[in-house]
């Protein structure tokens, strides 16, 4: 078993990260995702491909650079360089709430049990746990808290509006 969770279950990762893109011929078969700079540089070539595509973003990257391509993208990978760096929470919320992205939003980097609850509320549905994390134990994170007060990607209304 790996360290990948999708839709609250352990899963096999079908995606291949790819960098060093020069020509269409150099691309591997199957589903790939590339860093934002390479997406911007080789967008046309990539869009001509007949497989699923993803983009990985740093937490300082500008989401508006991909907002018109979201229909064509199946995966967006967002990075937590340190668990304490929470910028990707905002990126995920904007992707879901503002730009309506429906595909997979994946958390990578310093991803630990204790952030999964917050991540899923912000729109992440896939997680590459940091190595060493207990995958089975981490699944509990999705259910150990059941009450939420404020709206987020999973709830349109705050708690005081949900039953009225």
């Amino acid at each position: 078993m790996g360290n990948y969770i999708k839709d609250r279950k352990p899963a096999d990762d079908e995606w291949m990260p790819f960098t060093g893109l020069e020509e269409a011929d150099s691309l591997p078969a199957g589903d790939i995702y590339v860093p934002l700079e390479e997406w911007v540089a080789a967008r046309g070539m990539l869009l001509g491909r007949n497989s699923r595509l993803g983009v990985s973003l740093k937490n300082t990257d500008d989401l508006t650079l991909i907002k018109d391509d979201l229909e064509r993208l199946d995966l967006i990978v967002l990075e937590f360089p340190k668990m304490a760096d929470g910028r990707a929470f905002t990126q995920a919320r904007l992707l879901r709430d503002r730009y309506g992205f429906k595909g997979e939003i994946r958390a990578t980097g310093d991803v630990l049990h204790d952030q999964l609850f917050y991540m899923q509320r912000c729109g992440f549905n896939a997680f590459e746990l940091r190595s060493g994390e207990d995958l089975t134990g981490s699944l509990k994170a999705f259910t150990e808290m059941t009450v939420t007060y404020q709206p987020a990607t999973d709830e349109e209304f705050p708690i005081w509006r949900r039953d009225t």
């Binding site: 668990m83 304490a84 760096d85 929470g86 910028r87 929470f89 905002t90 919320r93 503002r98 630990l112 204790d114 952030q115 609850f117 917050y118 991540m119 509320r121 912000c122 207990d134 509990k140 150990e144 808290m145 059941t146 009450v147 939420t148 007060y149 404020q150 709206p151 987020a152 709830e155 349109e156 209304f157 705050p158 708690i159 005081w160 509006r161 009225t164």
Partner: protein, 550 residues
């Protein structure tokens, strides 16, 4: 006060279990100390110089008598028999064992209390005016808005890993008793030209090593937009706040470096996109929360009481206390009573378990079973009948809680300093006690009038020395603790940052230096009504400098 719903209770129980799991993972070595730190801090648990320190949230400073008894029980069972009330209206315990903390949280949850977000880089417990709901100068009770902010900010998924800690204060009165200008966000209820009530929004205040007064970024925000606007500010901060340098990560630096106008434009732009979302407050949402804060049933009483007047005339000690520690109440026949936690016998803000129990009993007996905590580290019984004041005073005296010094020089704010704190570089409690002892003379303190002295044991400024009329900052200079003086600060509606006056003083000189400052004031004031701050603002530093340094 706000009564927990089933879901509020459920959330606390789940949080206790979650934290119990985190402690177990730490004890089994599955979480490194560094990772556990991220978790424990979000639950108010610090590792201090000698032990863990647990900070318990007191949302907007409001406690029931029952909650106070639980705080006493925790002090007795899990600590050394006392607790410490902080400048942010919370209570801190200095000696809990890590293994006991989940049980402490269980005990707290039973009375609707917790330690959620009392530290860590998240939105902290919201603070407010300790006289909320009873003040004569109040436009509107700020507590329902604090409660809405509490709910919105609790486990906010997007803003739980911010660049730095984030503090919000709300005030609803003409006079600012919540220090809104020195918070990351300060909200003040105001009326606009159409006589509607809304908020002034201040952003980017704070103390620490770069003290700043908050900037007014919106002069009128309709109440129903409060949470969407806060969300917009937090979103801008989460994305743009600096994370490369711990000391430049607060929102005050972002506002300063971005520029006030540009920052305002960023917030407004974000807000326009979210102002109509589910977080927009409907009138009925505000009314529902307001219903928890309706006025209690007050007796219909005259605003004078002959017996009280006689007691004042016949007992000078009682008269002094009544003059200093009692405030007018919006309800005729009632008064607000300050319980001074600034006697010469305990560190500022400290209360023993026995005192806590006794205070709870007094609240039941005399003040509608509620207690408030203040920004200046005191307690308040907010609804005392005029006719009960003398009886209450007699009981407070026995408890050493009747020092007549509210808002006077011995009402000192002090951080725990080097005696407890891992960050401190100098002691602060002994200095505060030395000052209190030296000036333990009612007539002298009374003559000085409204005057604040605050002491911090390091540059992080937990003792808020920057906003004291006379601020004292302890620093370590080549292995010696020395103390810098700042003059002219204020944390009220005329907020200002005090200025350092000159070279620091040795520990055995600092109290003399304070005495010199007071001498200059007494000499230069135009009449006894002119406060220290007014005099200082009129004459500036030179006369003080001359006296201190010759």
């Amino acid at each position: 006060m706000y009564q927990y719903s089933e879901q509020d209770h459920q959330l606390l129980l789940e949080r206790v279990e979650q934290f119990r799991g985190q402690v177990q993972r730490r004890l089994k070595g599955q979480l490194s100390e560094d990772e556990f730190k991220q978790q424990r801090l979000r639950n108010g648990l610090y590792l201090q110089l000698h032990a863990y320190m647990l900070r318990v949230a007191i949302p907007y400073g409001l406690l029931s008598a029952e909650q106070m008894r639980t705080l006493a029980h925790i002090a007795r069972k899990y600590d050394k028999g006392y607790g410490h009330f902080s400048t942010r209206q919370n209570i801190q315990y200095n000696w809990p064992q890590l293994e006991d903390v989940p049980d402490i949280l269980d005990d707290l949850a039973a009375v609707e209390m917790h330690a959620i977000q009392t530290s860590g880089n998240c939105i902290r417990n919201t603070t407010s005016d300790p006289l909320a709901g009873v003040a004569r100068d109040e436009l509107e009770d700020p507590r329902p808005y604090c409660e809405l902010i509490r709910q919105w900010s609790t486990f906010h998924p997007e803003f739980n890993f911010l660049p730095r800690k984030f503090k919000i204060a709300v005030s609803g009165a003409i006079h600012d008793r919540a220090a809104v200008a020195v918070h990351d966000i300060g909200l003040r209820l105001v009326n606009n030209a159409e006589n509607e009530t809304g908020f002034e929004i201040y952003v980017g205040g704070g103390l620490g090593r770069t003290p700043m007064i908050g900037k007014l970024i919106r002069d009128f925000l309709p109440k129903e937009d409060m949470l969407t606007y806060l969300e917009a500010i937090l979103r801008v901060y989460n994305q743009l706040g600096r994370r490369d340098n711990l000391y430049k990560a607060r929102i005050k630096i972002l506002v300063h470096e971005t520029g006030e106008d540009e920052f305002r434009a960023l917030v407004e732009e974000e807000w326009q996109k979210i102002k109509a979302t589910g977080l927009h407050l409907r009138e009925q949402d505000i009314d529902r929360i307001k219903a928890f804060f309706v006025d209690p049933e007050y007796d219909d009483l005259p605003d004078t009481d002959r017996e009280f007047e006689n007691q004042i005339l016949s007992n000078p000690d009682f008269a002094r206390w009544a003059d200093k520690n009692i405030e007018l109440h919006k309800q005729s026949g009632y008064r607000v009573v300050y319980l001074s936690l600034k006697s010469a016998h305990q560190p500022p803000g400290d209360v023993t378990a026995d005192q806590m129990d006794a205070i709870a009993d007094l609240a039941d007996k005399y003040s509608l079973s509620q207690i408030r905590t203040t920004h200046r580290q005191n307690l308040v019984l907010s609804d005392v009948k005029l006719q009960d004041l003398h009886a209450l005073w007699l009981e407070l005296k026995k408890l050493d809680l009747a020092t007549p010094n509210y808002n006077h020089m011995t009402d000192i704010i002090s951080c725990p300093g080097l005696d407890f704190c891992a960050l401190a570089t100098a002691r602060s409690i002994p200095i505060s006690q030395e000052i209190t002892n030296r000036f333990d003379d009612y007539d002298f303190v009374n003559d000085l009038g409204d005057l604040s002295i605050n002491i911090s044991g390091c540059i992080n400024a937990c003792g808020h020395h920057h906003v004291a009329n006379i601020g004292i900052l302890g620093v370590n200079k080549k292995g010696t603790e020395v103390y810098q003086l700042t003059l002219g600060g204020s944390a009220r509606e005329d907020a200002s940052i005090g200025k350092i006056i000159g070279p620091a003083f040795e520990a055995d000189q600092i109290v003399d230096a304070v005495s010199d400052v007071l001498t200059v004031y007494l000499d230069k004031r135009e009449d006894p009504e002119e406060t220290f701050l007014t005099t200082y603002r009129r004459i500036g530093q030179p006369p003080f400098k001359e006296k201190l340094y010759g």
